[in-house]
Assembly symmetry: C3
Homo-oligomer: 390 residues x 3
């Protein structure tokens, strides 16, 4: 194998970690130790290198992986499909329209009914504050009960493909891109990242990406600045945990209402729109109540509010404020690109185009991050298993 | 293998049977000998034990399994997906909306067009009396013609995933649960099972579950009592066959219009709602004619009629009437549980909760029953093949 | 292997060809040399023979095949599913409704986002003149860029599952049927094929089948006659290329407005409806503009125009005009069969029924043609690889 020295070095690093991912779900980065996070990323890098040389990394003879998407998705859907295929599982998507879930089934029943030969359940449920993570925990409890009572032969591992709180497969991909770009986790210490709100002509984008980024980058000694217009708050508890992580890692975490201040001298910028938490909560209330006029009014109000901040764009002038004028631009994609996907959006056309292939590479880690989460949950000795592949 | 003694004993039983499942479709239990039914159940048990220890039971190198769902489904959909995956096939669902079937294709053409590399076709078509089974036979004839005329390299085996007459993958799962619970088929002789109608706030549920249950349990010497309010008749020919089976097996079959009488001293109760046959037939007529007002009126009428029997609930008082007050509760799921999935339904909350995990285990046989039907149809010597797996 | 002599002879033929399919997409037959086309067909025949004896022809350990259907499909959908399954890939369908493509993603971004572990992309986009082929080229360029810039570990191969210009998997299946029926390509020289418009009560059928047929059969020395009522023109450039091919191969190509003239002494007839190019272009314009009334009017106008040519039916009288009254009838299916799928259609019931199983066999080549296109694109030495399978 061409890259075998590189792979071996990564396996050595992996062996040195104190991780406890085996048998666990992966729901939130902040439930995991830094060693757990590093283990997920190292195995992802190794699987990607194996894939480069088409060395198979199958660990299952058969079995299903189930995805439940409660929101639209392209890249996460295909990332999950790719990951489970590489591991040897067949994908089945649970389509809540075609199924009988609407007929009054409880979560715990459905979770068991779909899991008799299921090794993994990936869930995306990001639209309603207070809902997504709660739902994932309910599913996790249900399959635990089923496994412990002889209903299931194995307990499926859960992977959070985006919830109301966190988007771990995204933020770990973002971090892997930074690791590669800056040459290792050590080099991230003291690097400044601006996680900034940006204008979008759409509304209702979830909060999990910024919440995930501020809670992950602070674990690795980075100087994380969160920027947004007043009123576009994230869930308060996610700011508290980020502050704690920054203190523990020797990094820092601060909040500003100025995009310029956040960009000033930044090594990395992550300009991305989201809806204010209060709007998302109100939206959930209206949706539940079936209040269509209320939803229409809320959308109008919210778009008008957004429009007051149309200048929050990652343009060339703001990029000039960053370290040497060439901070790395990150985005979870798809970005709202001014004059490309909308008249005015999150990022200027020229800025996006300059970093476009970087964002593709950033996204390219996701299948391997997902595969790694499953791999680590299922394989008792990940390093030994990886060695067997080449 | 931990369970190898158990598996070997089951294989010995299998070898003693006079079955002729090879090369056959599985459409109705009553087309099959008792030995055929036992063979399906034994192989299902063996595959489940192999799965418990993750011993692969793949029999195909490649090939498709196609499912055609003309009604919603969660558990059957995932059971089929799991079964065919374990056997080595890739699942393709025929979505009649996305396909060109609406463009005037005949059944025989479509059946061949999707089958060039197809080993199995699973069909659910349970909503219209006189339709589902007929459709399955048409598909079967079409692929036979294609195979015999050099269109298809192999003849796909058909599996009935629920039709208007029977629901064999369900009833065989129900029976496997009974076999396990009471310790063998021999112990089922003389056991009383109450297959009873129960109230539901929904309408239009198919008849195939009760028809399947009374025609299967009577084959194994059980005392089968069918109970329903007047007017909620099943297809008359299914009562006749059930009577004949009871006579042949030394069991009994009777009909009552009292839920209490059915529950009295019962060893097993199966309370489950269904629509009167006459309503299902009228509904089919109206649907075909596109008579929306007629359908609305029929639904109102039928719900009002149902409401007259709201007391047909499997509650604690009725459970007290059963043998020692603790008959086994069975259900095909999802159940309409009073105060859980609806205000008032088929079963009281406390009764369902006490048997909930039993119903999950009952459902857990289904993937293996489906796999077994395919296995027996495709493998000339099932016992020999099973021995090769461990 | 029973057919090993036959397979070996085909492999010998394959080895004698000067083909350059490795690493290429398959978008249009007329971009390919005759040797390329023969290589696709020979490998398809070999894979079909291997399948007859259930000899696996897997070439991938893992990986995705993605299909993008922008028009309904049954046979092409299942052909693609079968082909990629046999080759060892898992199918993922890109459903543009469920994905975020509607949210302003560009083609080049999506193409990369779905391709991190993807080996093949099959696309059907046949409804809009000037669109389908252009879209495929855009996707091809996008994955080339991704592959060259370290975004993708492999460049997925593209397969045209029907575009606005050509339908190569169909026309090559049609040709394989002719090869089998007449006993070899050599025997096709001088054979007359009538590619004729036929009446259909529906409207808006794409042009790619007739365009594909006239541009493929002319490569093999056949006498190709295109027949249609005045106004039902194909894209003019496709007539030009067909004329050139006929000259080069020693065949001929001509156009007539008489179905009888085309059928006279024909060895093969291919009666099939399509919409006039001008209508398809107008329809595209109206669809883009969201002009619902305009679309309704166009449909009415077009159906009325069609109705003027209701006598363009492949009936028994016209079949009598063909060589010995028994020309081979071909169709891509589903056909509009008079008195079966519609009151009056493309073909008389008795004619279709006589050739029905032939049309099924014709369709039966498609999974293997698709598999062959992928096989030839991915395997550097196809003949050597094929030899390894038996």
């Amino acid at each position: 194998m061409k890259n075998s020295a590189k792979v071996k070095a990564l396996i050595n690093e992996l062996e040195a970690l104190q991780q406890n991912l085996h048998g666990k779900d992966f729901l939130l980065t902040w439930e995991n130790s830094v060693d757990n996070l590093k283990a997920v990323m190292l195995v992802a890098e190794i699987l990607q290198l194996l894939h480069l040389e088409k060395k198979p990394w199958r660990i299952f003879d058969y079995g299903l992986a189930i995805s439940i998407f409660r929101d639209n998705s392209t890249r996460t859907r295909f990332s999950f499909a790719s990951a489970v295929n590489g591991l040897g599982l067949a994908l089945s998507e649970l389509d809540e329209v075609k199924s009988q879930i609407a007929h009054g089934e409880t979560v715990r029943e459905t979770a068991n009914m779909i899991s008799f030969l299921t090794e993994v359940i990936g869930i995306r449920d990001d639209m309603y504050p207070g809902e997504g993570h709660t739902y994932m925990v309910e599913v996790a409890d249900a399959v635990t009960e089923g496994f412990q009572n002889g209903v299931l032969a194995q307990r499926p591992s859960l992977v959070n493909l985006q919830c109301d709180l966190d988007h771990p497969t995204q933020s770990l991909s973002d971090l892997l891109k930074l690791k590669d770009y800056f040459g290792g986790w050590e080099n991230l210490k003291g690097k400044k990242i601006a996680m900034s709100w940006a204008y979008s002509p759409s509304y209702g984008k979830p909060l999990s990406v910024p919440q995930g980024v501020i809670n992950l980058m602070t674990r690795f000694g980075m100087d994380v600045v969160l920027a947004h217009p007043e009123g576009y708050d994230l869930l308060p508890e996610t700011l508290e945990t980020a502050s704690g992580f920054a203190r523990a890692s020797g990094g820092s975490f601060s909040l500003t209402h100025s995009m310029e201040e956040a960009f000033h001298n930044a090594d990395i910028v992550y300009p991305k729109s989201w809806a204010p938490m209060a709007v998302m909560q109100e939206r959930t209330r209206l949706l539940r109540g079936g209040d269509k006029q209320g939803l229409k009014d809320l959308e109008q109000h919210c778009l008008a509010e957004n429009a007051r901040h149309i200048d929050w764009e990652c343009d060339e002038a703001r990029m000039q404020l960053t370290k040497n004028g060439n901070a790395l631009y990150e985005h979870c994609l798809p970005a709202d690109i001014s004059e490309v996907s909308c008249k005015r959006g999150e990022v200027a056309k020229s800025v996006f185009e300059r970093y476009r292939l970087h964002t593709y590479q950033e996204a390219g880690y996701k299948p391997f991050v997902i595969a790694s989460m499953i791999f680590n949950s299922k394989v008792p000795n990940a390093a030994a298993k990886l060695k067997s592949f080449f």
